[in-house]
Amino acid sequence: MFKLSEIIKSIAVSAWFMFLTFPILVIKVNTYEKTIDWRWKNMILIGIASFFLSFLWRYMLKQKEYGSDKKKSKASSFFKNTVKNPKFYTSSIVLILCLIIAFPFVFSIYQTNIMTSALMYVVLGLGLNIVVGLAGLLDLGYVAFFAVGAYSYALLNHHFGITFFMALPIGALLGAFFGILLGFPVLRLKGDYLAIVTLGFGEIIRLILENWNDFSFGPSGIANIPKPSFFGINLSIYETTTYMYFIMILLVFLTVFVVNRLEDSRIGRAWIALKEDEVACQAMGIDKTKTKLYAFATGAAWAGLAGVVFAAKTSFINPASFTFLESAIILSLIVLGGMGSIFGVITGAFIFILLPEYLRAFSDYRMLVFGAAMVLMMVFRPQGIIKKRRRFYKISDSGGKKQR
């Protein structure tokens, strides 16, 4: 099975990595005390590990190139049949619903809390998915709208005592407003120019929040943001967490519902067409400007909504929570989950938010593993975990009937 050439190749790879990691992994210098620490053990470890991993790497790449098509189609058709089976479908949905409802009562407040975070990222992901996944506009400053939502609740509550439930629509509207505000100037830009301008926009919002103390209280942030109240009853922290969880579940349902409807509508099709071919899209009579602005506004509205929840959940916000890295994470989770697919985005959000939490045991290594996982995931499954499902329309001869 292992040919000599393969082994030689792996030895070469192993030697290369030993060379590559030599200064960083082996030598540790103390520039102050002027001592040098040689850690040869690391080099040996790297050598052995890369020798074996290179076999695995090549095997996986080959697997990806062929073979995968055949096997998968079989597996997926089996999967499809099971999923299509209405009995299975119903019972699984019921099961999932049960799980969702039982979750906070079965698991600890901590689990509920991080699940709420994950759900928040589901909403964020689905919102950004409208902009990137559907309309194909690469937005690297999405976190700005998240910040807008969070600050609108925090500030309105601080100054005018606006409650959480009043802030939700306000946050969403302000998010949408800022979406349009960003949308207008960048309409002419394409691809990566758009990406960098949105990145710049995100940074500008953060910098304003950081420096304009009179408005945003600067980096010391806003504390004591109240959690939502339950018809005026004071809830304990356990109950509040459960309550937040259910609010978030409802918001996720709302988001999925709305995004699904949008995707399957005249506007949604226009977004997808815009992503496919801008020139043809315009030639088909679609107003590019309007369609893009719709995408920015609807996408940003969800970020605003999630921002309000974030502020309530954390009870303290400052600009440091809204950095570019956050945008990158939201973008990554939708690409990793499967761009354009609602189910994929949900999966991506859960993996991205829960994985680092559960990797806490590895503490120091978790971000390392996280970064490596992102790369490997893209290399071996660039379309994301879940592929976008195509929508079919069933047509009878009398005309069309639609089937999902």
Partner: protein, 300 residues
């Protein structure tokens, strides 16, 4: 007037550093249309390798200039090796995938490399050895400009000239230009596209390493996170100038450096970055292809 000159020079220093990093971004973008987010990390690894190498060479008792040159050489070699390897691992398998996939891969690579250096070395700031010798200047110049600034301008200028020569006149340079224009066509006329892409990564990374060594020697400290901020700024510079163009990257870098320097000097450093990003947004709104980018009518 003296104040103006000082700010101008400060901007020039910043601009030179941004330019050295931005060139790598713009070259990679020009050839495979990828925002290589891990490029800032290459710069950081360059600085770290130089630090380690310099310490070892200092330990062995070499003279200051020798250490400087040797450490820079080691940094260049290692950064180039990292750039080469990253391309092979994280981008090459994705060449036919959707455009966003390599971008995510790049972000992942960036996170990985930061943590790799943090775990293998330290999360603290470390002192960077004094590599650039102090020339004795006579007042009133001495308090305006130091030797590290001069070295930075000179090296940046030499690198840019050499790169221009390489791209304009050598065979590899021509092949790079051809690949950037049309990959399929380049392949058809017998250019080894994979090789050219590797070369691009190697050159871009080597230049970033030079930037890393110079700036680390200038400010005297590094940690694993320095690549991120510098990377974003350099990327901004590359886009500002018109991504894909080397002149553009250099021009964008200097414009950005001066903007930041003058904004700090005449307005407030509170809004230094705000000015930088606002300038970017404004320029792109009025000139969507960047400063030197050519506007192309859509091909229909």
């Amino acid at each position: 007037m003296e104040y103006f000159a000082e700010l101008f020079l400060g901007g020039l220093t910043r601009g030179s550093i941004y330019a050295l990093i931005a060139i790598g971004y713009t070259m990679v973008y020009g050839i495979i249309e990828l925002i290589n987010f891990a490029h800032g990390e290459i710069y950081m690894i360059g600085a770290f390798t130089a630090l380690i190498a310099a310490s070892v060479f200092n330990f062995l008792g070499f003279g200051q200039i020798t250490v400087f040159l040797l450490a820079t050489a080691v940094a260049i070699i290692y950064s180039a090796a990292y750039g080469f390897t990253i391309e092979k691992i994280a981008y090459k398998p994705l060449r036919n995938a959707h455009r966003l996939s390599p971008l995510i891969s790049a972000i992942g690579m960036s996170i990985f490399l930061q943590n790799y250096v943090m775990l293998a070395q330290t999360s603290n700031f470390v002192r960077f050895p004094k590599l650039i010798p102090d020339f004795e200047f006579i007042e009133p110049v001495a308090h305006i400009i130091g030797s590290s600034e001069i070295v930075i301008f000179v090296v940046a200028a030499i690198v840019m000239l050499a790169l221009t020569f390489l791209i304009k006149f050598t065979k590899t340079g021509k092949a790079m230009r051809a690949t950037a224009q049309d990959k399929t066509m380049a392949m058809l006329i017998g250019i080894n596209v994979d090789f050219i892409i590797s070369i691009t990564f190697i050159i871009g990374s080597a230049i970033a390493a030079i930037g890393g060594v110079l700036i680390a020697a200038h400010i005297g400290q590094i940690n694993f996170y320095i690549g991120f901020v510098a990377g974003i700024k350099a990327f901004t510079a590359a886009v500002l100038g018109g991504i894909g163009s080397i002149y553009g990257a250099a021009l964008g870098a200097f414009v950005l450096g001066w903007t930041e320097s003058f904004a700090t000097g005449y307005v407030s450093s509170d809004y230094e970055d705000l000015f930088a990003f606002s300038l970017l947004v404004i320029i792109l709104i009025f000139k969507p292809e960047g400063l030197v980018g050519k506007s192309t009518a859509p091909k229909v």
